[in-house]
């Protein structure tokens, strides 16, 4: 099942890329253009995903066992929380600045996603952002965004 889903996905993806590459111009063998390599790479991806789909069908007929993808439904929400927090961090970094964004991220991850004891949450929420700010922004002079608060 897993291979059928992924094989089908890559097959469609390869068709889209092949079409886009064709639009970019393939050129000729004497003078290959911008679409040349992506076109042939997408073609290879398409052929390989077709082989995967075919071999999965043959295997299914032979062993009659469905190979499924395993997700832990009880903890899947944590994966989503982490992902949402990472995307929000990226989107808000320039506006809020490194320090404030990092404080919010660490508080969310340790206090809400992992529900640690309150004193652990407070200590880590203060220490991790400030130490990382001192190391990266002050010592290593990485230009981290300052945001509306100025730090």
């Amino acid at each position: 099942m897993a291979d059928r889903i992924s094989g089908f996905f890559w097959l469609i993806f390869s068709v889209i890329i092949a079409e886009e590459s064709y639009r970019l111009e393939l050129g000729t063998l004497h003078s290959p253009k911008a679409g040349f390599l992506p076109f042939w790479a997408s073609l290879a991806l398409g052929v390989l995903s077709s082989i995967l789909l075919l071999s999965t069908s043959i295997r299914r007929q032979k062993i009659k066992r469905i190979e499924s993808i395993e997700f832990n439904k009880q903890r899947l929400h944590k994966v989503f929380y982490v992902l949402i927090s990472l995307f929000l961090y990226g989107l808000l970094l320039n506006t809020f600045g490194f320090l404030l964004c990092t404080i919010l991220l660490i508080f969310f991850l340790i206090g809400i996603v992992e529900t640690q004891r309150w004193y652990v949450v407070i200590i880590t929420t203060i220490l991790i952002p400030f130490i990382s700010y001192m190391i990266f922004a002050v010592w290593l002079r990485v230009q981290m965004p300052r945001g509306f608060l100025g730090f």
Binding site: A2, D3, I5, S6, W10, I17, E20, L24, T28, L29, H30, S31, P32, K33, A34, G35, F36, L37, P38, A41, S42, A44, L45, L48, S49, I51, L52, I69, E70, F71, N72, R75, K78, V79, V82, L83, L86, F87, Y89, G90, L91, L93, N94, L105, I106, L109, I110, V113, E114, Q116, T124, I128, S132, F136, L140, R141, V142, Q143, M144, P145
Partner: protein
Amino acid sequence: MEALNNIFYGFSISFQPMNLLFCFLGVLAGTLVGVLPGLGPPAAICLLLPLTFHLTPVSAIIMLSGIYYGAMYGGSTTSILVNIPGETASVMTCLDGYAMARQGRAGPALGISAFGSFIAGTLGLVGLTLIAAPLAKAALKFGPPEYFSLMLLGFSILSYLASGSMIKALMMAALGLILGAIGMDLISGKTRFTYGIMTLEDGIGLAPVVMGLFGVSEVLLNMEISVKQEIFKTKIKNLFPNLQDWKDSIGAISRGTIIGFFLGILPGGGAVISSFASYAIEKKISKHPEKFGKGAIEGVAAPESANNAATSGAFIPMLSLGIPSNAVMALLLGALMIYGLQPGPLLIRQAPDLFWGTITSMYVGNVMLLVLNLPLIGLWVKILKIPYAILFPLILLFCLIGAYSMNNNVGDLIIMNIFGIIGYLMKKFKYEGAPLVLAVVLGPMFENALRQSLMLSHGSFTIFVTRPISLGFMIAVFGILISSMITKRRPGEGLEE
């Protein structure tokens, strides 16, 4: 005589106090990222790269290299004591290392891992010292067809040695080539697959791809499975393996060194594949294969030697040919360019201090690592006691800072997160990340070599088989493809399970 002169010259560079200091910092940071599961050398290199802008190129490359080979030492500690690989290259060490720890033999396991790493790392460096310079000379004869065939060989080897499906590995290589094409086409100046997104115009950065695929995705997987980070409670004693341990391991160390070194040289080979291959071979030739997985010391010695020898080997194509054989080498190559140096056959003439200074610093770094990893093992064990609930936000934060600091661009954070999701799904659907990363790394060079070769030959593919060096590589590619069709089981297949 010339080689000896070069080595003395190299040591005169690497023994300069500043270079010694940065070598120490590099191996220390490397051991730390090796010990911490989920944070690999690419992330550490991205994090520390901004610091190197204030250093001389020699000190910078010495430190960044130290992170790479230092991580191989550190990775084994976590594998042996926690049964979680600190580094992907230490996955195989978990099997017998943890079993040895459970039998009260954590000391000899850690000891043989450190000594094996030291022996293999040092022997690998001898190989690097002897091969890098002559290869750089020979590489002056390399043209686009030779580079193309060599890279094709790299893709074939990586797919052949993949622990999962070879078809899936090849699919990921093809996907990597497509992703590598994103951005401006260097020959025509046309932008490809950018859809008006400014961040994509310079192409997809390697740092966000690697940290997303290996760092973020690993955290996401661990969030789902609730990591029980239980350090095996045992007194670590007898770090020096006894005579019987040495007798059992010395063959494994020798074979691991040879396998690791030669696989490390090839683009796509690297530390992970070589540790898998050496474990598989060791098990195959052993008189007691049933002992593997139950605490066989050879099962620790072989992969640990192989991954360290591979790190030395990996420097050869990067320093001599300008071809990065893995993501870390690609980052080092990028760093060289930032310092205004052109990696490739001419590097040895343009910057002999960097070339020989970096190589000899690794001898010094290996000695430092032996000291760091044996008497100071207690310190690393303490770090392992940090609960995962505290550790994973740190790993994510380091990935975020590392991805951002390369270009000071929040777009890279979004790319990293997207690749985090892709990496998570790839692991669920059993696709490997290594071929994809190698193709992203080599993609632009691969494309240029292909297009230039075709232009040179007026559109004829025979150019790849009429030039002797290219023909040699092509025969090897053909051999690998034929071998994969006729053999029932490839060397690395199924090992990850």
